[in-house]
Symmetry: C2
Subunit: 420 residues, 2 copies
């Protein structure tokens, strides 16, 4: 199956350049990105007129808890600790595989409609999540989430099983957080990571209280404690990374770890503002995530990118403005590399056909003084005309093609009642 | 012309309640909002099935410079002072009535597509703005903008002329800012405001440097200086209000002035974070604006509402979370009252038919644990299915009905070249 996407503006993604061109897709891969007007020697099965709109790599949500759509706009009155212990954990105790399947579908539907084709998901009932991902056609990378409350015995089994499950599904080592995982369990995780030479990912330095607690326990910050245990010997990354010391930054730099920003969640839960500019200046690898819908409350990567570009402007220690292209690239490429999807990062021959078409005729994209700035500072899901993952059109002009959203809404509306 | 909007969820807007019902519109007014199933005695000219989606009052952009769409994504590398003096002012010097007409149309198109039906606009070439407003069908309230560089001789003439121009157009007294207007000129403005018993509006305490400068000049903050001159004897309001002292807050309280938040602009220009929660707790009247596209870079009131609900969470002096309904109400009602459009505030018999239809089937509005929270924390222009102003449908399912957006984009693309 060969499809030609023509009459397009193209941000291929290696750099910030936007050029007129066309893209040829064969099955699930990009066959060619064409800027020189050359013609294909073979016939296409279908041709799509992009109408002068923008083809660019799709967005990658590098930290989420997809099924937490169940908790959207629930308990908005709590800060992180109370929100977790009073509102979320009691409800999570009632979740079944069926709940997670439907609420994950709901989350994936929102991801797809806002231009995201891959999620780095940390949650429960992975069978339900994997089933939902394959059915709807999105890439799901699991991030292991064991902690003292469960999951320690499943690390290897899940790692091996879900890395063989389906081309759309993969699995990375991880754990919930230092503050929910004792040192014996952390050592077990580090040992398994060494056995497989695997990168490891975790929530880290999300709140000041978390860092203070770790220092009280061990006299060191979470990044130091974990690094000293060999946790990051094969890379990985941290989610949130709001409250890093210079030493933490150096560890992330030395180990090549990804800092994954979750600005909306950090605002809503009063966790603070990550020093995005400082991390970029120090050369850290960056990616962007939405966190779960319970603490966001949307799964809108455009809003995240916007905030990552402007929010740290109001930190007292800021030293200059952020280049919006750094943020956009983190959104489509940094996230891909962070979660091991290096073939989904940019538009180029041989890469995965994971891309979006953005409406350049919407007033918010005009005039075109700077297309990258327009996308980062003014773009929103309203600009997403089409979302394609592995060559398959998952969304086009308001219609989800692989899921009945009304059925999903109806099921979620019914199932959320079980959790009260 | 009588139209029935049925099969709807309705947030009428007096309180946070959302109920099933229907709304009857006669010409430019709301005839009835019906929750009890009663039938109309007369026939309707047309009936619209809302499909279970949400009717609510439209949003009001209570501080903007609409034509500044010309500067969207231009000079993103500057902070406020450099941005104004190096990038904006030199280009503004080249603007003509034609530029302002087309760039205002572009801005209005974006306003309408994101659910806004009234703009409190402070800019140049008011004839162009008024013409654009009446043509596209949006309400435009001018905010006078004289300062030491011009406009002082036009205050009364414009005030009288544009308050008689068209039902969609009105004019409020105002001036650019204390730091651009000397005391003689400020006194003239105050005197004219007294003559007409008119409220007065201005940029105020947007940056710390502005406040420091005023204290250096007069030994007092801008709010104190202006209030002592009688500027606010008949009410009015301030745009930005980021750096207020307790005394400033008391003046705004005592005079019943509106504080108009512009969170996106304040982030982008590194101006700071307004203490939204503190102002609400002290009982100040609040409204929300986008500021111009040059410093935002969008005109998206959903993003503003979201930020006003969460951003001040990360201020060190915050004392509790913000009720999202306070913010939503500021978005549709506070803004209306701020700019003198008290008949456009809520959905009720006799009020102006200024409303929007929000897509409740989009995944970001599900499940419906709390519809108000969903709108404020997860809503975006992607949810706007329809925008109606003065009974007229200006936007419906992706299509602007009163303007050819491709022509506007084309003209703006050409005209922006003149300004370089």
């Amino acid at each position: 199956m060969r499809t030609r996407y023509y009459n397009a503006l193209i941000l291929a993604g290696e750099d910030r350049e936007v050029r007129e061109g066309e893209m040829w897709v064969k099955d699930d891969k990009i066959e060619a990105v064409v800027f020189d007007g050359r013609k294909s020697e073979e016939l296409f099965d279908s041709e799509y007129d992009c109408g002068g709109n923008l083809l660019m790599p799709s967005l990658k949500d590098a930290h989420t808890h997809t099924a937490m759509t169940f908790s959207r706009s629930l308990a908005d009155e709590f800060e992180l600790n109370d929100w977790l212990f009073k509102a979320i954990f009691p409800r999570e105790a009632k979740l079944t595989a069926e709940h997670v399947y439907w609420f994950t579908l709901l989350g994936f539907a929102e991801n797809i409609m806002s231009g995201t084709t891959a999620c780095f998901d940390m949650y429960m009932f992975p069978e339900s999540v994997a089933k939902a991902a394959v059915e709807i056609g999105i890439r799901n990378v699991f991030c292991g989430s064991p902690n003292d409350f469960g999951g320690m015995d499943l690390i290897e089994e899940r790692y091996l099983r879900f890395n063989e499950y389906d081309p759309l599904v993969s699995y990375k080592m991880g754990f919930h957080a230092e503050y929910t995982t004792n040192k014996d369990n952390l050592q077990i995780i580090s040992d398994i990571a060494h056995k497989y030479e695997a990168p490891v990912y975790t929530h880290i330095s999300e709140t000041k209280a978390e860092v203070d607690g770790c220092i009280e326990r061990y006299g060191k910050t979470p990044a130091v404690v974990l690094d000293e245990m060999g946790m990051f010997d094969f890379g990985g990354g941290g989610f949130h990374c709001v409250h890093f010391t210079d030493e933490d930054i150096e560890i992330f730099k030395k180990r090549g770890l990804y800092t994954v920003f979750n600005a909306c969640s950090n605002l809503k839960l009063s966790s603070g503002i990550a020093p995005v500019k400082k991390y970029i200046d120090r050369g850290l690898k960056i990616a962007i995530g939405t966190d779960g819908a319970g603490s966001n409350n949307s799964l809108d990567m455009f809003r995240e990118m916007y905030l990552d570009a402007v929010l740290s402007n109001v930190r007292s220690d800021k030293d200059g403005l952020i280049d919006p292209f750094d943020i956009l690239k983190a959104g489509y490429s940094g996230g891909a590399h962070c979660m091991g999807l290096s073939d989904s990062d940019i538009l180029a021959a041989g890469k995965n056909a994971d891309f979006i078409l953005l409406d350049m005729h919407h007033p918010n994209m005009n005039p075109r003084n700077n297309i990258v700035s327009n996308i980062v500072y003014a773009g929103s899901p309203v600009n997403v005309l089409m979302t394609v993952c592995a060559g398959k059109v998952l969304y086009h002009k308001g219609v989800l093609t692989t899921v009945d959203i009304n059925e999903v809404n109806k099921m979620c509306s019914r199932l959320v009642e079980d959790l009260i």
